[in-house]
């Protein structure tokens, strides 16, 4: 009696597994087919468009690409340097801004007010406008002689713009840590500052690591904005080349260089936000 029951159950099981396999095969087939249709369709649309031969010549010219690439790459190193410098500055300054804003020490009130205004203003002005204003406004003040280099001024503008955003990300992270953690830290005898440094901040920052990285992907791209005040970074170099040779291929080269950095960063963000990272 029990044996027939076991056989019946295993038949059910085989049936279910077969159904599951059929479903999986069907899903894969649909995915493959729709990919071919969409990607093939788009490719056909571009390749059969009346302007395609012209576009291929002006945007995707291999000769122009190899000619311009070394110069664009040189320009891109400036992007990378500015990016790394600004990122380091933003990480520190934004943390200080966030800590000032969440503190409740009465003596820090004027500073708190100031940081609130700073965060509102820096986030409220388009980054491109900030680069322009600082790039041309600060030298005009003639406080420092000779005037700081456009690269430095551009980096300062980016730092101001991104510090506002990133401080809000930090603040959200700190506030997301349960109050009981702070209580427990005080209960073992830590001071408020120690509780913040050893217990609240490590948890809060870990939690907002994906949005922090996301902001840095955006920053990496926005470095191109400093080109409007002069520095010859990748986009500017490509633009100059394009102006001289009436060919846009160097801009594609610049775009590929940006992608080479931002895509891996985006993948890292994805990983951190995955099911494992989301549990905590």
């Amino acid at each position: 009696m029990t044996e027939t029951a076991a056989i019946a159950a295993s038949e059910r099981r085989l049936e279910r597994e077969a159904a599951k396999r059929r479903r999986a095969r069907r899903g894969a087939a649909i995915a493959a087919l729709s990919s071919v249709i969409v990607i093939g369709g788009l490719a056909a649309l571009v390749l059969t468009s009346p302007g395609w031969p012209e576009v291929r010549e002006t945007f995707f010219n291999w000769g122009e690409f190899t000619n311009a690439f070394p110069e664009v790459l040189d320009g891109f190193w400036l992007d990378v340097k500015v990016f790394l410098g600004v990122e380091a500055a933003v990480l520190v300054i934004a943390l200080v801004l966030a800590l000032v804003r969440i503190s409740n020490t009465p003596g820090l009130f004027p500073l708190r007010l100031l940081t609130t205004v700073f965060v509102d203003v820096s986030r409220g002005i388009p980054t491109v406008l900030l680069v322009y204003l600082i790039g041309f406004g600060v030298p005009a003040l003639q406080i420092v002689q000779p005037a700081p280099s456009p690269v430095l001024l551009g980096a300062i503008a980016l730092t101001i713009s991104y510090s506002g955003y990133v401080s809000e990300v930090y603040r959200a992270g700190i506030r997301s840590v349960h109050r009981g953690q702070h209580d427990a830290a005080l209960a073992v005898g830590l001071t408020h500052a120690q509780a913040m440094r050893l217990v609240v901040l490590p948890q809060g920052i870990r939690r907002v690591a994906p949005p922090l990285l996301n902001d840095f992907v955006a920053l990496q791209k926005d470095v191109a904005l400093i080109s409007i005040i002069g520095p010859q970074e990748a986009f500017r170099v490509a633009q100059i080349y394009q102006g001289e040779n009436f060919n846009f291929t160097p801009l594609i080269a610049a775009a590929l260089l940006y992608l080479a950095v931002t895509v891996p960063m985006a993948r890292i963000v994805d990983r951190m936000g995955g099911p494992e990272g989301a549990v905590r």
Binding site: D183, A184, A187, G189, L190, L198, Q203
Partner: protein, 249 residues
């Protein structure tokens, strides 16, 4: 006779309009365990939080070893270093292993050397049956293990008194016993304790005194046999009756 370890005199505490404590008088002598019983919202947790200066009281005083600790001039951090607190929801630090959780107070609050703190931390974990779990993150420990780590953490600073806030309420029933055993062990060693609890059997066994809290006041105070078996007040009888119905006694 030496001063009691803890003494509360007319302690009141309100959150906005809501008066949670309305004049609490309580004395806890050295080596004594006092169980606080009462319905949820009767003020048990608030009382413990006020003693550990996690909340500021409105009126009255709390004395630790004869010294007023609720004076605004008293350094709260120094007071907390002389007390241990165990939370209902454990409140372990999730980004640290069990050993680090136990060591952090000694290292940073009491300024112990790392090697010394680590040695004592390992010994404490072993004492509470957690040898081999030193590196375990709180997420990977059972509720009972987490609460035992929390007890070890509170005990690590060699406190004058331990404040236990419903330490078994968040646990699955089969894990309650191991945590109560840890508390029993500390009691046997002579630890002074204030224990907010819903476990009447445990209160009867471990406590020298039971205090029944109702609406922010201690309505009844005495040895467990008296308060739990022969309650004088209607409120106490009703409270115990409800627990009996719920099968908690």
């Amino acid at each position: 006779m030496s001063a009691p370890v803890l003494e509360l005199r007319g302690v009141t505490k309100a959150f906005g309009e809501r008066e949670v404590l309305r004049g609490i008088d309580l004395t806890v002598a050295e080596h004594e365990a006092v169980a606080l019983i009462g319905a949820s919202g009767s003020g048990k947790s608030t009382l413990l939080r006020c003693v550990d200066l996690l909340e500021e009281i409105d009126d009255g005083d709390v004395l630790l070893d004869g010294e007023v600790i609720t004076d605004p001039a008293v350094e709260a951090v120094a007071v907390r270093r002389r007390l241990g607190y165990v939370f209902q929801a454990y409140n372990l630090f999730p980004h640290m292993g069990a050993l680090q959780n136990v060591m952090i107070g000694e290292r940073y609050a009491h300024g112990a050397k790392k090697a010394d703190a680590e040695e004592r931390g390992r010994a404490l974990l072993a004492r509470f049956g957690l040898a081999g779990r030193e590196d375990g993150r709180p997420d990977n420990l059972s509720g009972g293990e987490q609460q035992r780590v929390a007890i070890a953490r509170a005990f690590a600073g060699a406190p004058r008194a331990l404040l236990l806030d419903e330490v078994t309420s968040a646990l699955d029933p089969e894990l309650v016993g191991e945590v109560l055993a840890a508390v029993r062990d500390l009691k046997a060693e002579g630890m002074t304790m204030v224990i907010a609890t819903h476990e009447m059997g445990f209160a009867r066994e471990v406590a020298d005194q039971v205090a029944f809290l109702h609406a922010g006041r201690i309505l009844e105070l005495g040895p467990p046999a008296q308060v739990l078996e022969h309650p004088q007040r209607d409120e106490t009888r009703r409270f115990l009756g409800r627990l009996l119905e719920a099968g908690r006694i």
